[in-house]
Assembly symmetry: C2
Homo-oligomer: 388 residues x 2
């Protein structure tokens, strides 16, 4: 430990708190599955990889004398065929609640030493999200409910990860989709969560309604068609009581939009990312009983979403340009821009700060991430190198 002021985690006490043998805790630390945060959040640890009986990204806070757990966000499984998936997974209840699944990034918010902090899905404290949530969320909620954690989507164009204009947001905003007990991860029922969120003036994801199990799949199909046209992502189907596991379902247009973004940087595109989106198209096409014309449109949409951005990248590189991932962030505290840059550096994402502009009482930074791998590969192909 370089900094002598930073005390070591008391393995015995953590073990007692988590009801696990001390040897298990030592093993987690040794294997890097229980990791300390850097910078001012050195009392915050995260479980990554295989957390025992907990969601990945679960956070452990060392209060030096006591501990606090903030459970990670559980993975939501996907329906491939909507109708059978609803009938099977919600058969014990009469109806399901349908909320919008927004396309941004998932953060978790708690109060920590008098300030709100935002964790990413993996349990890192994100400096940008942390700065932003101070402006988005009423801190009273957290003081009055210290045992709860708020989960929401950070969406909008001024977004380091997923830039979307579809929501009519000018910069960035936070939309609550879940409130859970910190230690158990147990979720509040949908009605209760929405009521609390409303009382504190939180933005929330859109509620489409409560549909009988029998009618849900046709209602959701309509919703999905509309969302698709608007460039939005999809829905999450929930048990009102939040006892049964939620199920997600997305629009074809959203799958294709993901591919369009991914294939701009074709050499970095994940093989599984491509495969999974292709598979979703196949199942949706089957379930929607498409005629030949609709099916042709879907095939064309899929093909174009892959080849068009890739072709554009090759053209750009050939013309001498280099492709990059450009985004903006907006903060009140100028220092956060540099802190966020350093944060991305830690993950090996080296970005260039292009410009910082003062707009009103805020600073807008333009950030450029050069995708070396795709630029290099394209250049190599243009120079006649062989693929492999």
């Amino acid at each position: 430990m370089k900094n002598s002021k930073i005390s070591e985690l008391d393995v015995e006490k953590v073990a007692e708190f988590l009801e696990l043998p001390p040897s298990k805790i030592s093993e987690l630390i040794e294997k890097g599955n229980l990791k300390r945060n850097w910078d001012e959040y050195y009392d915050i640890y995260r479980f990554q990889g295989h957390a025992p009986q907990m969601e990945d990204g679960t956070v452990l806070i060392d209060h030096h004398g006591s501990f606090e757990l903030v459970r990670g966000f559980p993975k939501i499984k996907r329906a491939m065929l909507l109708e059978p998936a609803i009938l099977k997974n919600f058969k014990e209840i009469p109806s399901v609640v349908v909320e919008e699944k927004m396309n941004g990034y998932n953060v978790r918010v708690i109060e920590f030493r008098g300030k709100l902090i935002a964790f990413t899905r993996s349990g890192h404290v994100c400096p940008y999200s942390t700065e932003r949530v101070q402006n988005f969320l009423e801190p009273d909620f957290f003081r009055e409910h210290p045992d709860l954690v708020v989960y929401g989507e950070m969406a909008g164009p001024e977004n380091p990860y997923v830039q979307k204009d579809a929501y009519g947001i000018e910069s960035l905003d936070f939309f609550v989709f879940d409130i859970r007990h910190k230690d158990t991860g147990e979720a509040l029922p949908v009605n209760q969560r929405r009521e609390i969120a409303e009382n504190y003036g939180f933005n929330q994801v859109r509620l489409f309604g409560d549909f009988s199990i029998k009618s849900a799949s046709s209602k959701i199909t309509e919703i999905i068609r509309d969302l698709g046209k608007e460039g939005r992502e999809g829905v999450v189907i929930k048990d009102q009581a939040m006892v049964l596991q939620p199920v997600k379902y997305t629009c074809s247009e959203s799958n294709c939009s993901d591919l369009r973004q991914a294939f701009k940087f074709y050499n970095e595109a994940g093989r599984d990312y491509l495969y999974s989106r292709v598979i979703r198209e196949g199942f949706q096409s089957h379930e929607w009983n498409e005629n030949e014309d609709e099916f042709t449109q879907r095939c064309l949409r899929l093909g174009e979403s892959i080849l068009r951005p890739m072709k554009k990248t090759i053209e750009e590189v050939e013309s001498g340009d280099r492709i990059s991932d450009d985004f903006r962030i907006r903060v009140k505290d100028r220092e956060i821009i540099f802190k966020f840059r350093d944060y991305l550096d830690r993950f090996g994402l080296y970005v260039a700060l292009e410009k910082i502009e003062r707009i009103g009482d805020e600073y807008v930074a333009e950030i450029r991430k050069v995708n070396k791998s795709t630029n290099d590969k394209t250049l190599a192909m243009l120079e006649g190198q062989l693929w492999s």
Copy 2:
């Protein structure tokens, strides 16, 4: 060793033969990178995984007193952009020879104890291919050239791996594309190889001609367009002297045909298999300077080649059928059918012999390979299970 008649490989002597330290040989055996064949070919070993300075699938024959090496077929690299690839990779020579790349499976033939035997690319002795080559190749060649190995494509519809009608072959045939020295892997020059093959009456892959480096890419583009229309695979571009490494290039229709076959069994489709074919389409579309209409056709072709077979599979499983991979083999010796079945079993490919019919002096077996993984996954989705 269960069979006491089978003698152990003499590590010291192998080491001396391969000019490697004995410890390296022991290590290769221990790690399973130098493996003995089963059944009557127990004196034949193959290198798999990382063979030292040799192609994967290189074969070592133990003649009990001496050894013989049969080098594996070298991996041929692929051009993504034809013109720069030719200019860069063949810049030292005035012209390139272009031969057809056929779509079948790669086998290597030698004489072993008075009989021809056929190795697969990985160095296994394939019973079906071995039976077939007796009928396809003139054994005199092998007696007169014991130091040479013949590489060729087994193509045609009666094919356990790739069934193609495009070649106008009724059953199966063998097309020579390379003759090399067994021990060094050094290839005969194209002219010499074609002359020898002709003298012995061997079938050969089609020769398109010898093109100047400057004109080659436009000539090959024409050839590729024609081959695509005929449902054929592509070309291999070679240095007449076979000193520079050959380069392969394929038709869009062949990429799409591969995908069509793969996505019938979508749950077994390789992620890399999908990705690599998609990438080829992007580069070809760029190089061919396609207009919007041609580009749209390509996108549609790509999308359809993935979604149409997948949709059909879901429909078939929903209707109560099960999808399977069906193929025929044709042999003179009925026993080979069972031997081949056992051979596939060894690889974990459990097949059902559907029917054996006597036709003339031959036996035709219909073989069915049930793709459990895709059938099971499809059924699970139809029953409402979630993807993950």
